[in-house]
Amino acid sequence: MNFEYLKPMSLDEAFKMLEEHENAKLYAGGTDLLWQMRAETVAPDYIIDLKGVQGLDKIKETEEAVEIGAMTTLRAVETSALLLEKYPAVSEAAKVVASQKLRNKATIGGNLLQRIKCPFYNQSHINLFQRESIDSCFKRGGKKCLVMEYGDDVYHTITGKSYCKAPIPSDLAIPLAALDASVILKSFDGEREIPLTELYKVGGELSLKAGEILVKICIPKKGNQRNGFAAHMAFPGSFSQISVAADLIMEGNRCVSASIYLGGVSQKPYAAQEVETLLIGAEIYPEIINGVVLELFKDVKITNDDVLFKIAKARDMLKDLLHRLV
């Protein structure tokens, strides 16, 4: 691999470097970029290490929000006392990503912006775990989506219209979507704030413009929010197959607001509106929860055992999570 390493000391310097060098990639913890380079899905000529820019790695509370700097390591997000108290869903999600040692390096911004992890897409002769063994996927010069040819399996989407069946790979995006988080993107031209969910387009692409850097994630404070997260994976440390996050605001036994998102099932965080509408305004008892989760993915066609597994498992996980929160 042949590239040059640049380390800006300020965001303005980083913007200049991004503009000067066309084939440059931003480097935060580096754990995803190195993966992409080994999978040969990117080949940057320049790497711009953001660790020299001060102030991007703090977790801060203001009157209206809790702000997490994009360069905060996942380990810091996992152990943050502030997040564990107010937004445990975010810390719980950080805890399932990879392993402690990788979380010492990986950043929350990098996790949100990571590349899709579909094993067919990531085949390469360097990558030991997703070895090059069949035709390339259509995104890499091949003729078709190999999931369509070989059938659904637990690592792909079960809903959502897209020509690409790779699910959103970020675990942190799910609880942040449930918490209605927004992200701040900065560039030479200024800054813009968009809802986190708008960061993701169908097809596994991101809606970042060229020259933009994700600097901060803002979680708006809405009062007494009961939130939590759960994920299912083949073994600890592997990519999660299904994840679920919920944020409930209760008045006594009555649910005033419910926000439920799932990961591993769609190209973007999946909003479980079919369940949310049944919860909002209702008095929540255990029997209600047991009944309401059966609405989840009611309209998804069960084409094979893997899809059936995902739907059943998602309903189970959502049920346990709602019981835990209420």
Binding site: E4, Y5, Y27, L34, I47, K101, K105, L128, F129, G237
Partner: protein
């Protein structure tokens, strides 16, 4: 035309040195080939097996996921830096409890334990297993390794 070289200052096991490396050199290779610290092993090149674990500024990181240029100015600890006149208590505990067979995973296990106990001197069973989660051992079955770590907690 050769690739651009960078001057990187690493303090490894207390010894500051400057190396001239290309941008794509990994810390695991620098430590093994330039510094001669072969206790740092290459296992998976993916950050998942724990064999290449080193302590960088006190935090356990997989050195196969660190570019040497990125580690400029940091303090690195490998297993060679742990023992002085006597073995470190962690090393002694591993010996006492039969926690070593082929020894390939041992440097990673010992350094991860060191980072864990530095951060949390009284970890619970769950916290120990979580810290050692991605240190993979093919020989011992982990039982004696956990016994060794337990024996270090009073």
């Amino acid at each position: 035309m050769s690739a651009k070289k960078y001057l990187v200052k690493l303090t490894v096991n207390g010894v500051p040195e400057t190396y001239e490396v290309t941008a794509d050199e990994l810390l695991v290779d620098t430590l093994r080939n330039r510094c001669g610290y072969t206790s740092v092993k290459r296992g998976c090149d993916n950050g998942e097996c724990g064999a290449c674990t080193v302590l960088m500024n006190g935090k356990a990181v997989p050195s196969c996921e660190v570019l040497t240029v990125e580690a400029d100015g940091t303090d690195i600890l490998t297993l060679e830096g742990l023992s002085g006149e006597e073995l470190d208590p962690i090393q002694q505990a591993f010996l006492n409890h039969g926690a070593i067979q082929c020894g390939f995973c041992t440097p990673g296990m010992v350094l991860t334990t060191k980072a864990l106990l530095n951060e949390n001197p009284h970890p619970s069973e769950e916290e120990i297993v979580e810290a050692l989660q991605n240190n993979i051992c093919r020989c011992t079955g982990y039982v004696n390794i956990l016994k060794a770590v337990h024996s270090l907690i009073d």
